[in-house]
């Protein structure tokens, strides 16, 4: 198994710095995802690991062996592309055997190995077909088998599912996850789809403008996003301005602009300041009996019924609109213009400094 280490990576395209200084360590056998909006440099980074993009600075290494100057064909990588990149003039079997033949292996071994991986992806029935007779999903399975058959040190996947339709995508990501676990290969996976990233990854690096914003498990990214960008990129959230103040007893409180106050003793150690609060739509709780809990009043502006949940857009007394999600029920009967009372699940909110770049809840 291979440990991938990237230190001070730098990428320049036509005098534009795309990746200024990037550091990532990917553990042996992990499925590591580079996630970010288009143009964030995730594919660029993947192609630097593969060797298809030049490296303008820094060190890339597999198990402490520097690979910067190695030809892609000598890095022993398996790569899966967005457009499958199946060789159309070769049969399914010949596609899988292609990499093995480059290694000048014994013919019998080549056949056996190709068949083993075609079985793994359940394509052994289609062995002698030409790629044009396969669906997109089948082609991508063949691409995966072809990449794995050469026993690569690392597997690189560049948005492998984005050309597939929605249902197939979910089946395929499960298949990829299972096969990756079974083979136990260090995998770098690029996607712009945060749901896909959450479903498949051990670790995710969220990137923006060539800079890694946060590296963490899907859970930590969702619940403790390290800055405002990650908070709003992973899942959905409401960002509200608030003021951090201490009351007479020295307990920190967050004063929202609609005059609602959240006691937040976690931040007692900080000075009074302006802050930004991230509250996910599901962390607002509708309260009907307002006597025991502090609540604030909102007006329903719009609602979308999605089956499992109902999403509301509500306006606060300060005219700000926020999104609220509630599990749907048959009896629910809230209409535009209705006024309801909400409170906040304070355990799950995240507080950022005024520029949104630091998560204050994290600071110890």
């Amino acid at each position: 198994m291979t440990l991938i280490k990237i230190e001070h990576a730098k990428k320049v395209f036509d005098n534009t710095v795309v990746i200024p200084d990037l550091n990532i360590t990917i553990k042996e056998g992990a499925l590591f995802t580079l996630l970010g909006p288009s143009g964030c440099g995730k594919t660029t980074l993947l192609r630097m690991i593969a060797g298809f993009n030049s490296i303008e600075g820094g060190d890339f290494s597999f198990n402490e062996k520097r690979i910067n100057d190695q030809e892609p064909s000598r890095r022993n990588i398996g790569m899966v592309f967005q457009n499958y990149a199946i060789f159309p003039h070769l049969t399914v079997r010949e596609n899988v055997e292609f990499g093995l033949k480059q290694r000048k292996l014994d013919k019998k071994i080549i056949r056996e190995r190709a068949e083993k991986y075609l079985k793994l992806i359940q394509m052994e029935k289609f062995m002698d077909r030409k790629p044009e007779q396969l669906s997109g999903g089948q082609q991508q399975r063949v691409a995966l088998a072809r990449a794995l058959a050469i026993n690569p040190d690392v597997l690189l996947m560049d948005e492998p599912l984005s050309n597939l339709d929605a249902k197939l995508r979910i089946d395929m990501r499960k298949a990829i996850r299972e096969i990756q676990r079974e083979v136990g290969i260090t995998t770098v996976y690029v996607t712009h789809d945060q749901e896909e990233a959450m479903a498949i990854s051990d670790q995710i690096a969220v990137m923006k403008d060539g800079i890694v914003q946060q590296v963490g498990s899907p859970k930590s990214l969702y619940h403790r996003p390290s800055n405002e960008f990650v908070a709003s990129f992973i899942g959905r959230t409401n960002m509200l301005n608030a003021e951090l103040k201490h009351n007479e007893e020295g307990i920190a409180e967050l004063h929202l602009q609609n005059d609602f106050t959240i006691p937040y003793p976690k931040l007692n150690h900080l000075d009074d300041q302006q802050v930004r609060i991230s509250i996910r739509p599901e962390d607002f709780i509708r309260i009907e009996d307002t006597t025991s809990v502090d609540t604030f009043k909102v007006r329903i502006e719009d609602s979308v019924y999605l089956g499992l949940n109902t999403e509301y857009v509500v306006s606060l007394t300060d005219k700000h609109h926020i999104q609220v999600t509630e599990e749907s029920s048959f009896d629910e009967d809230l209409n535009v213009g209705d006024r309801v009372h909400l409170t906040i699940n304070t355990n799950k909110i995240n507080v950022y400094c005024a520029d949104g770049l630091t998560n204050l809840s994290e600071v110890k």
């Binding site: 100057d69 064909s73 790569m79 457009n83 990149a85 060789f87 990499g99 072809r146």
Partner: protein
Amino acid sequence: MKNTKKVNRFRLDIWGIAGLVILITYLLFLVYPVGNILKQSFYTSELGFSIENFSKFFSMSYYSDTLFNSFKVSITATFFALIIGILLAYLFAMFDFKGKKFLRILIIIASMSAPFIGAYSWILLLGRSGVITSFLSRIFGFQMPDIYGFSGIVLVFTLQLFPLIFLYINGAFKSIDQSILEAAEGMGVTGISRFFKVVLPLLMPTVLAGALLVFMRAFSDFGTPMLIGEGYRTFPVLIYTEFISEVGGDAAFASALAVIAIVIALSIFMLQQVVSLRFAFSMNALHPVRTKKVTGIKKVLVYVASYGIVFTAVLPQLYLVYTSFQNTSGMVFQSGYSLDSYLEAFSRMGNSIFNTVRIPFFAIILVILFAVFISYLAVRRRNAVTSTIDSLSMIPYIVPGTVLGIAYLTSYNTGIGGSGILSITGTTMILVISFAVRRLPYTIRSSVASLHQISPSIEEAAQSLGSSKLNTFFRITVPMMMPGIIAGAILSWITMISELSTSILLYTVNTRTVTVAIYTEVIRGNYGIAAALSTILMIFTVLSLLLFMKVSGKDEISL
């Protein structure tokens, strides 16, 4: 690590070497001869640098009139070819009638034959003692208008060139969506007015591209006006006769004419580029135009027009096939039928038939080899050298064949710079190279197109699987490009076997091709042999076309 670096550099060198070899080839066989013509036209040993040759041309109407004549026939023929070609394509796209596939194949055959053969056949049909002429005068006492000169050249060019317009427009119709026509109809624009207001503007980019091609072909063709023009001399005829006149020929003056021809071709080419940019837009048809059933008088008109046009276009070919079986004595066809013409053609011109296979065969191998490397270098490895090669490779597209022929003759007569190196005049090699250089642009375009279809990630996939760059090129890229290249090469092959304007200048007794043989036999008045050879050439063309359709899996040709 060091080791891999070394291998790396060596591999890069292979592409560098390929680029340099191609560049040197173009310098030797394109830049040098064309440059040589340029030099000859301006520089004489007595006067040094002078524009005397050019002022001689423009000051004497005996010479300059030919340029005017050329423009006149080319513009008129382009105009008529456009009308007939667009009309026919419109009928094909809009109406439902039987035998379209058959007609389309006939049209392709008509477009692939050498124009001068059409001219010769039309003389047999409509000339002073032509069959139709004498038939009409004998039965009706009707005197046909004179076919020689301007009208004859225009007739032959129009019938020869409208198939190209048809093929272009026919392709363009496929990118017009049915819904566009229906939208126009919904707004009350139908029939003729819809054609002019909606359909024609949509076809405009293609019309312009087709018009340029047709104009250039007409402008640079030399065999047709030579045979049917009589006193009506066009510019290519002047270039040829000035170069090959009995009194030794004036190479310097001919070179000046060649330079003028290049300048004109270049200006028209650039004009077309500018104009077509203005009209450029892209269309994508989800639902191609559906053909309509027609009835009554309309149906009759559609059939008469489409079959009539196509029949007229292939009539000269058919008539030649017919006469090839007639007994002949010189220019006179006798009664009775036999294979005598064929026997004589084989015994006297057998080597020309062999040459027509042999010379284009070598040329096509060069074409494929160069096209694969040039397109790969130009698309995947763009740098100063490969861009230069890319531009150089397109020059023969606009240089008339006669001009290239003269350039080759004068440049390699005594070797490069008179050194004796590459003194290839009179050899098979000079014909092979001239054919290859002239037809490369077509095959390069088609291989560039097929290379653009191949996503770079396919090559990257091969590399990630451990395949070296060179191995990837030969095992993955080339096999994937092959169908496109072969299809393009067969088309080049067909144009090579019917080529006249370069080979008429470069041939010797040993390297005479069928087209040259037909031309010389027509001039000598051996009509039987000429007809037999024309039929053989036609069979070659049809066989090649069938091969093309089999390889490309299409019954259509896009140019």
